[in-house]
Amino acid sequence: MTMSNIVLDLSELIEEGETDSISGRTFGEGYAKKKKIIEHITSGDTITILIDPSKVKAINDSFWKGFFSGVFKHLKSKDKVKNHFQFKTDDFYLSLIEKNLTILDSIFKV
């Protein structure tokens, strides 16, 4: 089985001139489904999420809840999730993502 690294650039979710923030649980779920996140995790791939703070001004935690809900149902814990994901962004976004993962960990932990 060939494991690969998948790169998701969240800037693609920003509509030029329309919005510079990302929000919505359904939106997050849909994006995870579109990018076949569970399939990649099952295949052992790693997923790198790029967030350019100059383009993406804000990300609501509802988006992360939607994006990661399937992932946490599958992997059950934050540590296992972090084995499959890397985040390339600034420290502020990294801090927010860490908090989101901690909250999701408490929701989904068995």
């Binding site: 510079d20 923030s21 929000s23 919505g24 001004k57 804000a58 990300i59 609501n60 935690d61 509802s62 502020f92 801090s95 927010l96 908090k99 989101n100 901690t102 909250i103 408490s106």
Partner: protein, 162 residues
């Protein structure tokens, strides 16, 4: 012939002691109620310190952020609001370990509504974040006080009537 009727010795002894027995039982009940009341006071203080005060501090921080940025467009400080809201949710999670019966899902849903609305209306000129914030704060506090009333401070009534 004169007949003398006498009370039996056992009945006489019991009737003599009855007032003392009743007084002793009353004393025990009074001590029990005092202990329960003191326990309720301690539980109240604990809930105030560990729950209400901590959440109030987080709400105060959020209120300060909103107030400091009220002249700016909401979009300029959405991330800061998101961060403050996440801190509040982390507190909810910690509370669950101390008060397992608190329904933090409801609390998280209430605060999620607040941030969702902020993101939805971030570029709406006449949308005021302050009013939605106040509603959110009141709703969360109402849930916490309801929890306190029905779970923590009904201790005396549960003990007395169980």
């Amino acid at each position: 012939m004169i007949c003398y009727c006498q009370e039996t010795p056992i009945e006489t002894d019991f009737l003599d002691y009855l007032p003392n027995i009743l007084a002793f039982v009353a004393l025990l009940i009074a001590i029990y109620v005092v202990i329960l009341t003191k326990r309720a006071d301690i539980q109240l203080a604990k809930f105030q310190k560990l729950c209400l005060d901590v959440i109030e501090a987080k709400f105060s921080r959020l209120e300060t952020l909103i107030d400091q940025n009220k002249e700016s467009e909401i979009g300029e400080y959405l991330q800061i609001i998101t961060d403050a809201n996440l801190d509040l949710n982390l507190i909810f999670i910690q509370l669950k370990s101390i008060y397992p019966q608190i329904n933090i899902d409801v609390l998280q849903d209430i605060t999620q509504e607040f941030t969702d609305k902020a993101y939805l209306n971030y570029n709406q000129k006449f949308y005021t974040l302050q009013s939605d914030f106040l509603i959110t704060k009141i709703r969360v506090q109402e849930k916490l006080y309801d929890y306190a009333l029905y779970h923590e401070f009904s201790y005396i009534s549960r003990k007395l009537y169980s």
